[in-house]
């Protein structure tokens, strides 16, 4: 049986996502060794820092290149991250029930990103920039002791926020029964019409308006 699919993410953005995701994981792990004393032995001799630096370059450069190649995507993405309306509020209210019990009551139709994804996206932007700025300053290594301590502090707070949210992100994609389709969105770029209708109703309506049914 043929399953109708719609394209959720184009190839360039999927490449960016996976590049970023991969580098984040490495950065997260190589950073965590300095944050968790029990893992400190892994940081000996600084090889983790070397890896951290190489990957940090990818982490920072990848979105920059993407933005340069497709500036409109940057504008669109930023707009998306900062467009919030009352549906988002309703989503926040209804989401816990939905994610624990599957009860869709009160869940408003969502755009290309649901409120949760949008929040994650916002976090990625804000703390990604934080990481990049504080990281580069630490790399340069010429700041005074107290500034350096501030840099470490901000870098660490960013780690805590992004790290915990990252756990959530992974869980939802891989383990949460309702979210299996989102994996396909980033893996193949396509999601089923059914999933699109259920999870991104607004967006589905937008992309199908005037085009007839997608196939």
């Amino acid at each position: 049986m043929t399953i109708n699919k719609v394209e959720k993410y184009r190839k360039p953005i999927r490449i960016l996502h996976w590049t970023h995701a991969f580098s984040f994981v490495i950065l997260f792990l190589t950073g965590l060794v300095l944050f968790i004393p029990a893992l400190g032995f892994l940081a000996e001799d600084g090889w983790t820092r070397f890896a951290h630096r190489i990957v940090a370059v990818i982490f920072v450069v990848a979105p920059v290149i993407y933005s340069i190649l497709d500036p409109s995507a940057l504008v669109r993405g930023l707009k998306q991250a900062f467009s919030w309306d009352k549906d988002d509020l309703s989503w926040v209210k209804a989401a816990p029930r939905y994610y624990f019990t599957g009860n869709e009551k009160g869940m408003p139709p969502q755009g290309a990103m649901n409120t949760g994804q949008k929040a994650w996206w916002l976090i990625v932007i804000i703390f990604g920039v934080m990481f990049a700025i504080t990281g580069m300053m630490m790399w340069k290594g010429t700041a005074s002791a107290s500034i350096s301590q501030w840099l470490v502090l901000i870098h660490d707070i960013s780690l805590i926020v992004t790290g915990t949210m990252f756990l959530l992100h992974i869980y939802l994609v891989i383990f949460h029964p309702k979210m299996k389709g989102s994996w396909d969105a980033m893996a193949s770029g396509k999601i089923s019409v059914e999933y699109a209708k259920a999870h991104h109703g607004k967006w589905y309506n937008e992309i199908t308006k005037g085009k007839g049914k997608g196939s």
């Binding site: 399953i3 060794v33 300095l34 944050f35 968790i36 004393p37 400190g40 032995f41 940081a43 000996e44 001799d45 600084g46 983790t48 820092r49 070397f50 951290h52 630096r53 994610y99 624990f100 019990t101 599957g102 790399w139 290594g141 002791a145 107290s146 350096s148 301590q149 501030w150 470490v152 502090l153 660490d156 707070i157 780690l159 805590i160 926020v161 790290g163 915990t164 949210m165 756990l167 959530l168 869980y171 383990f175 949460h176 029964p177 309702k178 979210m179 299996k180 389709g181 089923s192 059914e194 999933y195 259920a198």
Partner: protein, 276 residues
């Protein structure tokens, strides 16, 4: 075991810098001199004080300060600049993997092999003592500072002998011994100095930061010598250690707990599998 300490009597020190050189010699630290083709090209910067700063190769250096209050007598003050071996040591607090630790005799030792080169200790030290040279590209670095002569293979303390700096001091301005004895000795020396007319004489390090293991006898306020009057672990060090780290672990833990719960609850509630 009784805590050991070094007592530095600035009022007896003549700044001959035998300690500075002996430290380098014993610890096999290279001189910090840019070399030119045919030898050594080093610079006098208009002072007896050289090298200009502590470095990974300079764990101990003497500081020279000329003080001349208007109308008062000129003084030339000499101070030791090296690790103070605090009881409440900022560096030990922030060291991510325990490479910096308190030796059983009280002072701050470290294991250079396990040092990650993160540099947190450098920022956390109230006396600005630890140093490293970081490779700007790779980030490889190893922290160095006074080891109290306990470096592996060069451990004088384990052999029951005093640190190299103490050994070499001609006017006995440096003393090594049980901390309690030295505190008592220093207090009586301070009294003697006060009787001699040094009303500001004081013992620095008896209680600072939980008690230093390098204590100074000074004839004047510590700030005259360029020492912090009331050294403290910085608020950032404390915040980082007491707030951010626990919050981080809590946040991570909480998230894992919530997700675990969700997993259990959502399955048990029989949330429909998405049809493809």
């Amino acid at each position: 075991m009784a805590e050991k300490a070094i007592l530095y009597d600035a009022t007896k020190c003549t700044a001959c810098r035998g300690c500075q050189v002996a430290c380098k010699q014993w610890n096999e630290n290279d001189e910090f001199i840019p070399t030119i083709q045919n030898g050594v090209n080093s610079t006098n910067r208009g002072s007896y004080e050289n090298p200009i700063d502590l470095s990974p190769q300079t764990w101990l250096k003497m500081r020279f300060t000329e003080v001349e209050p208007s109308g008062g007598k000129l003084r030339w003050l000499f101070t030791r600049q090296a690790c103070m071996h605090c009881t409440d040591a900022g560096c030990v607090r922030v060291c991510p993997n325990g490479s910096l630790y308190h030796h059983e005799l009280g002072f701050v030792a470290y294991n250079k092999d396990t040092c990650t080169g993160c540099g947190y200790c450098i920022d956390a030290c109230p006396f600005s003592v630890p140093r490293y040279t970081r490779n700007i590209i790779t980030g490889f670095a190893k922290m160095d500072k006074c080891t109290f002569c306990t470096s592996q293979g060069l451990d004088r303390i384990a052999e029951g002998i005093e640190p190299a700096c103490v050994k070499t001091c001609p006017p006995k301005a440096l003393r090594y011994g049980n901390r309690n004895d030295l505190v008592a000795e220093a207090k009586s020396r301070v009294q003697v100095l006060k009787l001699k007319g040094y009303s500001g004489a004081n013992l620095y390090g008896e209680n600072e930061l939980g008690g230093l293991h390098v204590m100074y006898i000074l004839e004047d306020s510590p700030d005259v010598y360029g020492l912090p009057v009331d050294p403290q672990i910085s608020g950032l060090t404390a915040a980082w250690q007491n707030v951010v780290q626990p919050v981080g672990w809590a946040a991570g833990g909480l998230m894992v707990a919530v997700l675990g719960l969700n997993w259990l609850v959502a399955r048990r509630a029989g949330v429909n599998k998405e049809t493809k």
